[in-house]
């Protein structure tokens, strides 16, 4: 089976699992909403401040959400030992990982796109002029979180206290993604909106580096 077909089969399986159970997306959406609401109590921003701090809070909330929602990606396979079954398939082991990365990317992007208008309303930012560029940042950020998050979820699944291990491994590693996507968004929501190419480059670099590392070394995580 070709790499693309194997990966898209895994992707289909992940999406089907989620749409049958509907556990992950709804819970994560509500989680991010709660965090966004609590931030407004913790910092009590004025209108001007909220435009400035908003993007940072949004990305912090998304990072936390990612470190929680990527957990089941491999843990779910453990309860019935289905990862062993997947490994038996005569396909490139990276295609299993790639399918899961793609699924997690779509889940995260879905959460981001639903939350974007809510965020814009809560934190008083104008979206219409910069919508395309904001979506680009969301896509690049979601890619960074989902690639490293899926790999680290496979790492954490083999550890004790795995619910705590994933955030511990993931959050410091995602510092560059947090900085770049936050700064880029602060620029976009500024007056006048400003595109900072350097942060887009950093985001692309993170995505490329994480993806390359996952491609080169990820398959070791799947072996027995």
């Amino acid at each position: 089976m070709s790499f693309a077909r194997a990966a898209s089969t895994i992707l289909g399986k992940e999406l089907r699992t989620e749409f049958r159970s509907r556990e992950l997306l709804g819970t994560t959406l509500v989680f991010v909403l709660i965090v966004l609401a609590l931030f407004s109590f913790a910092f009590d921003p004025t209108r001007e401040e909220s435009r400035h701090f908003g993007p940072g809070l949004l990305w912090l909330a998304l990072l936390f959400a990612g470190s929680l929602m990527l957990q089941p990606s491999f843990v779910r396979e453990q309860s019935n030992d289905t990862l062993a079954a997947l490994r038996l398939a005569p396909v490139d082991p990276f295609s299993i990982l790639a399918g899961k990365i793609a699924a997690n990317f779509l889940f995260l992007l879905f959460v981001e796109l639903i939350l974007l208008p809510v965020f814009a309303m809560f934190y008083n930012v104008g979206l219409t002029a910069v919508l395309g560029r904001v979506v680009l940042v969301l896509v690049l950020g979601a890619a960074g979180i989902s690639v490293s998050g899926t790999v680290f979820s496979a790492v954490a699944a083999q550890a004790r206290m795995r619910e705590l291990m994933l955030p511990l491994l993931l959050l410091p590693a995602l510092t560059p993604v947090l900085i770049a996507s936050t700064e880029e968004m602060v620029g976009l929501f500024g007056n006048p909106p400003e595109t900072q190419t350097v942060w887009l480059v950093v985001l692309v670099c993170c995505d490329v580096v994480f993806l390359t590392a996952a491609w080169l070394f990820g398959e070791y995580l799947l072996e027995e």
Partner: protein
């Protein structure tokens, strides 16, 4: 750990007495040079002498973290447990070095800048780096099966080391864009200061080498004990 079972070669002493004496002499000479020989810095005074151990610790820590990446790749390619032992030993020594950096830094900063900490790019990225490798060590504690532990730690170690340049660049760019306390570290070093710094670095490097060696041996002994215990309880796999 297959090689520790059965006819494992006897573990040699990690380091000879002569080497210990030589390193002790080197360390004493370096301390003497840093505290007495090096000229007192004009504006900062005596507190600047902490720099002779602060900077070498940071350089040595980077080298130790480089060993982690190298040993992790080598382990995944060869599957020989000695590389995993080198990785964990280097990570611990690197974390120790950066702990020294993070402790001596504020001790120096308080009298000189008037504050213990500032979110300057160098301090911030050092802190994130330290946290990354602390996570690596915690991960190792949390995986029980030695072979799984070696593999997942190697993959995470490689990811962490690839992440380091991204962390440094993004924090550097982020911080230099924003107003921050001015940190005067420009100018050039007095030649006496420079050789004292090099002597101290040599001493710290020697200590790193000894610690890694001793730690690798300890890890080998642990693996041997685990293997013996497993055989004793009849659950050897």
């Amino acid at each position: 750990m297959q090689d520790a079972e059965g006819s494992a070669p006897p573990v040699r002493a990690a380091i000879s007495l002569g080497a210990i004496v030589a390193i002790a002499v080197l360390l004493a000479a370096a301390s003497y040079a840093a505290l007495v020989v090096a000229p007192t810095e004009r504006t900062m005074g005596l507190i600047q002498r902490i720099f002779y151990f602060h900077v070498p610790s940071a350089w040595t820590g980077f080298i130790a973290f480089f060993f982690v990446a190298f040993a992790s790749v080598a382990f995944l390619r060869t599957r020989r447990p000695k590389w995993d032992r080198l990785a964990v030993s280097s990570a611990e020594v690197g974390v120790a070095c950066f702990t020294i950096v993070l402790i001596t830094g504020p001790i120096w900063a308080h009298p000189v800048w008037g504050i213990w900490w500032t979110w300057d790019w160098r301090l911030t990225s050092t802190l994130v780096l330290w946290l990354l490798y602390i996570s690596y060590l915690i991960l190792r504690m949390m995986v029980d099966d030695p072979e799984r532990r070696a593999v997942v730690a190697a993959v995470f170690g490689i990811f962490a080391s690839l992440d380091v340049p991204l962390v440094y660049f993004s924090i550097w760019f982020f911080r230099t864009q924003h107003p921050q306390p001015v940190i005067g570290d420009g100018g050039h070093l007095d030649s006496r200061m420079a050789w004292v710094l090099m002597l101290c670095w040599a001493a710290v490097l020697a200590v790193m080498a000894v610690l890694i060696r001793v730690r690798v041996r300890l890890e080998a002994l642990r693996a041997e004990v685990d293997a013996l215990r497993m055989r004793g309880s009849g659950t050897s796999r």
